[in-house]
């Protein structure tokens, strides 16, 4: 029975003790920023939640999000969560292809109409349906069709959440985000390029246990996107001390100084990268020596350049500056001409005065 809870059986199969499961639930509760008293409820929900049917749609994407979520170095409970879902359609992972694969999707939709979860990675081309299609069905049609019977949609990765790289200027395909198209379903955005796997699992766990998490104005779960990377960055003390790397290979960079001047977008980027980190907590981009690109934010490709400091102007200031000098000098010259002329006229109009013409007519007598 696909809808029966599978987790206890899986745990047993993997030789995971219940104590380990409780420990995991406690940690998960903390990660989801839920009160610790909720831990037993998390455990209960995970144990009893029916195994949901999940349809994973991949559109204009690079498969990085799928890679990230399937690349765990050690077997973990995160994997169990994924095992707990019934991934009925994922055209990269599933064995079936072509018509058979589409049948699987249709069958799953039919069987779980109104209850299945749709996960989307990749953006949707809106200019021309033919830019991206699967089995002859355009991404737009497939999303609309699949979303109709969905209980909720999780937009995984910045492309699905906000348009991402395909939408970057000049946006050749007219790429749009899921939320640009689907307006009548709850959508959880888990942006990132790719998102942190642990965040994806925690969001799924939250969905499985308590439904849609608390979202911010950009549709992101607040538990993972409330604080900026800058706030929790281990290099922050250097920022506060005024110590900044000037190049990627200078002494400051090697000493671990702040990467702000090298274009780090940490201050304007909300994500838990600096605390949860990547590859099972090994590191994150800033720790690896590169500034944050701001990948969890909309339009991050076009926000003024990856290597330009956040405080630097982002427009055509060089050309404008030159134009300003020319305009200033030209207008100054015009003003100068008028001023000089005014003064010359004044001097030409000078009436020589003597002691007897210092008074006004009516006063003189």
């Amino acid at each position: 029975m696909p809808s029966s809870p599978l987790l206890p059986k899986l745990m047993k199969a993997h030789g995971v003790s219940r104590r380990s499961f409780l420990k995991y639930c406690a940690s998960l509760t903390s990660l989801m920023a839920l009160p610790p008293a909720m831990a037993p409820r998390v455990a209960y929900a995970l144990e009893t939640a029916p195994r949901p049917s999940v349809i994973w749609l991949s559109f204009q994407e690079c498969t990085g999000c799928t890679e990230a979520i399937t690349r765990s170095s050690a077997p973990s409970l995160e994997e169990l969560i994924f095992d707990a879902i019934s991934l009925d359609y994922h055209h990269t992972l599933q064995a079936a292809s072509g018509a058979a694969a589409e049948h699987a999707r249709e069958a799953a939709m039919k069987e779980h109409w109104g209850k299945y979860l749709v996960i989307v990675d990749g953006s949707i081309p809106l200019d021309e349906p033919g830019y991206s299609a699967i089995a002859g069905i355009s991404n737009l049609d497939m999303l609309k069709e699949t979303a109709e019977g969905a209980a909720a949609i999780v937009s995984v990765g910045t492309c699905a959440a906000y348009g991402g790289l395909p939408q970057a200027n000049p946006n050749p395909t007219g790429a749009g985000a899921v939320s640009d198209i689907i307006k009548d379903k709850p959508i959880i955005n888990v942006p990132g390029c790719p998102p942190i796997p642990m965040v994806m699992t925690a969001v799924l766990a939250h969905y499985l246990t308590f439904g849609i998490p608390d979202l911010d104005e950009l549709g992101r779960p607040k538990a993972f996107f409330a604080e900026s990377i800058h706030d929790r960055c281990y290099r922050r003390p250097f920022y506060d001390k005024g110590l900044f790397a000037e190049g990627f290979d200078d002494e400051g960079a090697r000493a671990g100084w702040c990467l702000y001047k090298l274009g780090c977008k940490g201050p304007t980027t909300k994500s838990v990268c600096a605390t949860v980190k990547w590859n099972d907590g090994t590191s994150f981009p800033i720790e690896a020596g590169h500034g944050c690109l701001g990948c969890t934010e909309p339009d991050f490709w076009d926000n003024g350049g990856f290597y330009k400091p956040l405080s630097a102007p982002a427009g055509n200031y060089r050309r404008v500056g030159q134009a300003a000098v020319i305009a200033g000098v030209a207008a100054g010259a015009g003003g100068a001409y008028l001023a000089r002329k005014g003064k010359a006229d004044a001097l030409a109009n000078h009436e020589t005065v003597d002691a007897f013409t210092l008074e006004k007519e009516e006063k003189e007598s």
Binding site: G342, N349, E351, V353, D354, A355, L358
Partner: protein, 420 residues
């Protein structure tokens, strides 16, 4: 050819140059100039804030010499200058300003407000808004040879008297001598002792000098009124006499604005350098002292303080010279507060003394001097400007203060070494 508002505006237009434009561009309305002004200090009336006194000049500058001002005028938002504006400025530009220059010293952005008052007066006088007393003096000086009228007879009598008293012959209009001495009308009328004093000192120093009967008057009411044409006319008399006589130097007497007129404004009024040098009498005395040609013996035991004339010290750069001289002859020399570069005006310079309308303001301003003198309580106040001398003498008397006032030249002559 009569004074009109338009003539006044045009004169202001002529006066605006890069310094003025930079001053107005820089003013941040901090108000620090107010405390530098003797009239504000004594009245605490904010209208006497120095920079406010030149508002009219600022308006002309904004209207006519700035792009944004021009655009404003084109949009009908400009400000039209009327004769009333000039009338309103009279009391600020003439009555409550002695052009003492203290405000120019304190302005944090470096505005020379005093210079702008001088320029304002060009416009005021051209528009017919100069004080009547000063206009009268200008007329008298133009027609005669001094602002007090014709002083030919008086100067001849005073010179004769000095000659008789000192036994030194003083020749008028003698060509080829070292120095041409010019005097202020105040000295001729009130303090003629200075003539004898100079005669004695120059004789001892072995320098030759003369006085010109055609141009003996050093003062220049054109500078006080603020009219360059009048000032030029008056300064030309002295320049012509000096060059005709072929003197090396013209000695500017103990008179503040005369020094400004002769030494600093004169060449610019006539548009060329002089063929001679202009030195202030105190500068000259100090030079003679340095050369060992001025020797004194004995010292005055009175408690003496020194009053710095604004135009000679702050605006003229003669600061250490009088002190070096005074120390030769004064045993008990005490400075007042703020003495030197930041000294306070005698209260009546820059034409204020002649201006009846400003009498109350002048009296109010003197109270500051009074307090300073009371603090030092000197027996004698020495100065190097006949008009300061005159003002202090009268004001002290009006305020029932029994303090003697003396000119420095006269005092130096008194202690000249008597050997032969």
């Amino acid at each position: 050819m009569n004074a009109t508002c338009e003539r006044g505006v045009n004169a202001l237009r002529e006066q605006i140059d890069a310094p003025v434009a930079s001053f107005f561009s820089s003013c941040v309305s901090c108000g620090l100039c107010a405390d530098a002004c003797i009239f504000f200090q004594e009245t605490q009336d904010p209208q006497y804030t120095p920079i406010r006194k030149v508002e009219l000049l600022r308006r002309v500058w904004e209207n006519e010499y700035t792009l944004f001002g021009r655009l404003k005028s084109m949009a009908g938002l400009g400000n039209k200058i009327t004769d009333e504006d000039f009338t309103d400025a009279e009391r600020l530009v003439y009555d409550s300003c002695t052009m003492c220059g203290r405000c120019s010293m304190v302005c944090p952005v470096g505005n020379d407000i005093t210079l702008m008052i001088r320029k304002m007066r060009e416009g005021m006088s051209a528009a017919g808004h100069a004080p009547v007393e000063l206009i009268g003096a200008a007329k008298r000086h133009t027609k005669g040879n001094s602002p007090m009228g014709d002083l030919s007879k008086a100067i001849q009598a005073q010179v004769k008297h000095a000659s008789a008293e000192t036994g030194i012959e003083i020749e008028f209009d003698k060509p080829g001598v070292d120095y041409l001495v010019i005097l202020s009308a105040q000295e001729i009328a009130e303090y003629p002792e200075v003539i004898g004093a100079m005669a004695k000192i120059f004789k001892k120093a072995g320098v030759t000098w003369t006085i010109s009967l055609e141009a003996f008057e050093a003062t220049n009411v054109g500078i006080q009124i603020g009219n360059r044409d009048v000032a030029k006319y008056l300064v030309t008399r002295v320049v012509e006499a000096a060059e005709r006589l072929g003197v090396k130097k013209v000695i500017s007497p103990e008179c503040g604005h005369a020094y400004q007129a002769m030494r600093w404004e004169g060449p610019n009024l006539i548009g060329r350098e002089y063929d001679f040098e202009v030195v202030h009498i105190i500068e000259l005395l100090d030079q003679l002292r340095a050369e060992g040609k001025l020797k004194t013996s004995g010292k005055d035991s009175d408690k003496i303080t020194f009053h710095d004339p604004c135009q000679i010290n702050r605006r003229g750069g003669i600061n250490k010279e009088p002190r070096r001289l005074l120390n030769m002859v004064a045993e008990n020399f005490v400075e007042t507060d703020d003495a030197g570069t930041m000294n306070w005006c005698c209260s009546a310079g820059g034409g204020v003394g002649a201006n009846e309308r400003a009498a109350d303001l002048k009296n109010a301003a003197f109270q500051l001097k009074k307090r300073q003198f009371e603090k030092v309580a000197p027996d004698k106040i020495v100065t190097m400007c006949a008009f300061c001398h005159h003002t202090l003498e009268n004001a002290l008397e009006d305020n029932d203060m029994d303090i003697e006032v003396a000119g420095l030249t006269e005092m130096m002559a008194e202690y000249l070494v008597d050997e032969d």
